[in-house]
């Protein structure tokens, strides 16, 4: 709707007729005061304002109109006499568009201007509505995402608890199976070797199941409340070597440990990592070759296996090299997957979970693990850990 403001009825009438002929809705006011009242009540897309009016003149009215937030963007076309007062130019009306038409005016020209300005105004309004709409949508989506996140956290905690309880409760009956099967084997089957053999298979499978459940228990409890402490990694490696004493002496293995840095880790978990990798190195050693394992570490600049060493580096790179049977690097991703094995069950013992637990622990420490290897030429496992955990949390 367009508002025409002019104190002369004749002018109001002729303009109104012109506009209505061109299918515009028109409203009129015969003074500045009346116009202002109407503006507060109604929505207008354009105001045609006579400059020369008794009481408030067009410029004063325009100034007030641009002061109301409701109407500040409404385009105004001034109708003025031949001598255009430059006041409106210097006053710098910015928003909504302002123009003027001199009297007597050319109706075609006026119509053109009206068309242009009212279109502009409508478009601006549309844009503003779209913007509000978008903002509302974004807010809604953010709320939905926050809620979904909360739900995920709850279900995650539940799952972890479930895995823990399931593994725990599964172990009990399994233990009984193993215990009593052994008793039967020992007490009653000495004279029936075939039965002994079958019993052995039962026991072996049960033991395997027990190891699996244990490993699953382990895996599921890794991310729960990690307690990071600054620890000397050399001590951790030495602890792992003590735990593996029996295997090491059985295989007559030679192990070399360089000085390793102090890093913020969860000690029990990182001990597990070294235990797993060193025990793999021992397990997958060549038959007639004395296993040799070297463990070294240095500070590096970036979280990457190829990063340059740097005394002020924020990451620690640990390298564990062995001279065992190695593996084809095309399986590199697979070996870190749960239950993925590269050899048959009877060839090399193991559940296949070890390395996936190791990987999960390293990821829990915001680090990364990878390996380099060639069949028959040994393997090198590379672990990168941030020296500082709290700093890592801030940057991630």
């Amino acid at each position: 709707m367009i508002l025409i403001v002019d104190d002369k009825q004749a002018n109001l009438f002729s303009l109104k007729t012109l506009l209505q002929l061109n299918v515009y809705d028109v409203d009129t006011a015969s003074s500045g005061e009346e116009a202002l009242k109407k503006i507060l009540k109604n929505e207008y897309e354009l105001i045609i304002l006579d400059v020369q009016m008794p009481g408030m003149d067009g410029y004063e009215v325009a100034e007030i109109i641009t002061g109301y937030s409701k109407s500040k963007d409404i385009p105004i076309i001034f109708l003025s006499a031949v001598n255009i007062d430059k006041r409106f130019i210097t006053k710098g009306y910015t928003s909504g568009g302002v123009d003027y038409v001199t009297k007597p005016f050319d109706p075609d020209l006026l119509l053109l201007k009206i068309k242009t300005f009212s279109k502009l105004y409508r478009q601006a309004k549309e844009l503003s509505d779209i913007k509000d709409n978008l903002e509302q949508k974004v807010e809604k989506r953010t709320e939905e995402l926050k809620q979904a996140n909360k739900n995920l956290e709850v279900s995650n905690a539940e799952l972890q608890q479930y895995a823990f309880i399931a593994s725990h409760d599964l172990q009990e009956p399994l233990r009984k199976i193993i215990t009593f099967t052994r008793i039967i084997e020992e007490r009653f089957l000495e004279k029936t070797p075939e039965a002994m053999e079958y019993m052995s298979k039962i026991i072996t499978s049960s033991e395997r199941m027990r190891t699996l459940i244990n490993d699953l228990l382990n895996y599921s409890s890794i991310s729960v409340n990690p307690k990071f402490i600054f620890t000397d990694l050399t001590k951790i490696v030495n602890q792992a070597l003590v735990d593996l004493e029996v295997s090491i002496s059985e295989k007559n293995a030679r192990i070399e440990v360089d000085d390793l840095p102090v890093v913020e880790v969860v000690p029990e978990q990182i001990t597990q990592v070294f235990q797993n990798i060193i025990s793999n190195a021992l397990k997958f050693s060549k038959k007639d070759v004395t296993p040799f394992i070297k463990i070294s570490g240095e500070l590096v600049q970036k979280k990457s296996a190829k990063s340059k060493p740097s005394a002020t580096g924020e990451y620690c790179r640990i390298t564990i090299t062995d001279n065992g049977i190695g593996f084809d690097e095309m399986y590199l991703d697979k070996i870190f997957n749960m239950f993925q094995r590269l050899h048959g069950k009877s060839e090399y013992k193991g559940t296949g979970i070890g390395l996936s637990i190791t990987k999960k622990i390293i990821e829990n420490h915001n680090g990364l693990i990878t390996a380099k290897s060639k069949e028959e030429e040994g393997s090198t496992f590379i672990i990168i850990l941030p020296v500082n955990q709290t700093a890592e949390h801030q940057t991630s």
């Binding site: 172990q171 009990e172 233990r175 009984k176 193993i178 215990t179 009593f180 052994r182 008793i183 020992e186 029990e268």
Partner: protein, 151 residues
């Protein structure tokens, strides 16, 4: 005359209890075997004036009414009972359980073996050394058996 030994087992699992009793008899039939099915019953037995105090207590962790950790704390707080060596004898091998019980005063943490020959070996070593070098015996055991033992 050497006084015959007395063992107390606190465990709610009847299978484990009968196996323990059987093996103990094989090791030394003169050792008197006492059993309580939870911490509460154990304490009632131990605090009873007429009871003969055991030379060693084997204590399970997960039991109804009163579990092993609470029972251990009570035993170590009692002036008559705190000197009796307590060995945790349980299905758990969780480091948290080990830390807590060792801190509370248990001299050893044994995860129940599934192999009766092993159990016999363990009980026989302990029975022979309850009043002398018990800790050393246990430490030796922990290095020489596949059973999970922590001292």
């Amino acid at each position: 005359m050497t006084k015959s030994l007395s063992f107390l087992l606190v465990d709610d699992d009847t299978d484990d209890t009968s196996l323990f009793k059987e093996v103990l008899e094989e090791v030394n039939p003169s050792i008197s075997f006492n059993w309580a099915e939870d911490g509460q019953q154990a304490l009632r037995f131990l605090k009873d004036q007429d009871s003969v105090l055991p030379d060693i207590i084997f204590l399970d962790l997960n039991m109804p009414r009163m579990g092993g950790k609470e029972c251990l704390a009570e035993i170590k707080n009692d002036e008559k009972l705190h000197k009796i060596p307590v060995i945790m004898y349980t299905t758990s091998s969780q480091s948290r359980d080990i830390e807590e019980t060792m801190q509370k005063g248990a001299i050893c943490f044994i995860t129940k073996p599934t192999n009766m020959k092993e159990l016999k070996n363990i009980l026989s070593s302990i029975a022979g050394n309850v009043h002398s070098n018990l800790e050393k015996t246990l430490r030796l055991l922990s290095n020489n058996t596949t059973t999970f033992i922590v001292c």
